[in-house]
Symmetry: C2
Subunit: 204 residues, 2 copies
DNA sequence: CGCGCGCCTTGACGAGGGTCAAGGCGGCCC
DNA sequence: GGGCCGCCTTGACCCTCGTCAAGGCGCGCG
């Protein structure tokens, strides 16, 4: 599927579920004013669209993507003989909820630059291509990141510059960021105040 | 269970799931700074806590509540013979995600007073005791509402006053609000600009 | 009956981020 | 190779909401 393609729209009746094989997909809610909130980025291996009444969000291709389609009904019928499939589906579904719950807590409580730090560390954990440590290839553009973190593109741009100026990261082109050592080593403390690292980076 | 009681904590291993029989339960994420984001209010009839790895959120009693406990494992084992149970669980799980997704879109894109209008209309639809139209009995205190809408209590208080001053609603005590006709009649247009109704209410 | 503690309210002030506007930069198509 | 378009950047300004501080109100307990 091509970049930008709508996989399904909110409100549609379902029937098909997907497994993402390659690329990146976003789940989003489209507001009435043209506003958009991205509630999840999905990476290879993840299942999505396994609902039974109505699509609660839209799904769109962030990059070129490859998916496998399944008839949801058939999967469930077979699952009667395969309890592990049921467990898997419920686990995945709950995981989506849990990740979103934490996402909400972050984007509503952190200032812009800390949302970004959290986002990059999250990417490192969930979409790591395992190349050089701290190097992140972004599959999405800045607009998508802004809508994920609930920021405007201008604010995102400024926060990014601020992080670069304080030595937190380096940008290589628009689709690659390199996190500095201190940040890579502290993936669990992404919420820390930026100020704590300013002294370090000033000397670097 | 008494008001304020912790039903389970984030991170705990599960084992038991619940059906809410009476009262109101909140699902929440507790931030590191003591900040709290409430991601869902649950009302009678709803299932919660049916996860299999770790609790992704905490659950606490908003009011006095009555719940039925089930062994999650047993429910799933029985469900092998009952596909409808599986369908039900997956539906519920997806519904939670969908509701939260829309919740996020609202609290990140609407100003304080519109979040409140949306919240009240949401309560009317989901927790309606079917008494007089537009009358809402709040099971939770202002702090809970603030944490649900991602506002500070002060801002909530001010927004509430603003809505009262513009004639959008009337407060009877601290736990009852009465929505005006124009608002009750437009549950789907909760996102409208407040200004549109100011002229109306000024004459009322 | 009165005191005290939570919860809500109100005011003054400041900061972070949204808005508007314009400019740079790169990629793609012709 | 040149031009155009979309995406990102930068600046100036303003507005909403958060913060700090103090006061009111009601409920429960002594």
């Amino acid at each position: 599927m091509a970049r930008g393609q709508v996989i399904y729209d909110e409100g549609e009746p379902p029937g098909v579920m997907y497994r993402l094989e390659a690329g990146c997909v976003r789940l989003q809610v489209n507001g009435e004013d043209g506003d958009r909130q991205i509630v999840a980025f999905l990476f290879p291996g993840e299942l999505f669209g396994f609902c039974l009444d109505r699509r609660s969000t839209s799904a769109e291709a962030v990059s070129e993507v490859e998916v496998t389609r399944f008839m949801t009904r058939m999967v469930l019928e077979k699952s009667v003989a395969r309890p592990d499939v049921v467990v898997e589906l419920i686990n995945r579904s709950n995981a989506l909820f849990g990740v979103l719950a934490h996402h909400v807590e972050k984007i509503t409580h952190l200032p812009a630059h800390e949302r970004l730090i959290w986002f990059f560390n999250w990417l490192l954990r969930h979409a790591d291509d395992a190349r050089a440590p701290g190097v992140i290839e972004l599959p999405m553009n800045y607009r998508d990141i802004a809508d994920f973190l609930s920021l405007k593109p201008e604010t995102l741009s400024r926060a990014l510059k601020q992080l670069e100026d304080t030595g937190y990261l380096v940008r290589r082109g628009q689709r690659t960021v390199v996190l500095r050592q201190a940040c890579v080593a502290l993936p669990l403390r992404a919420g820390d105040r930026l100020a704590a690292t300013q002294a370090d980076s000033a000397t670097g």
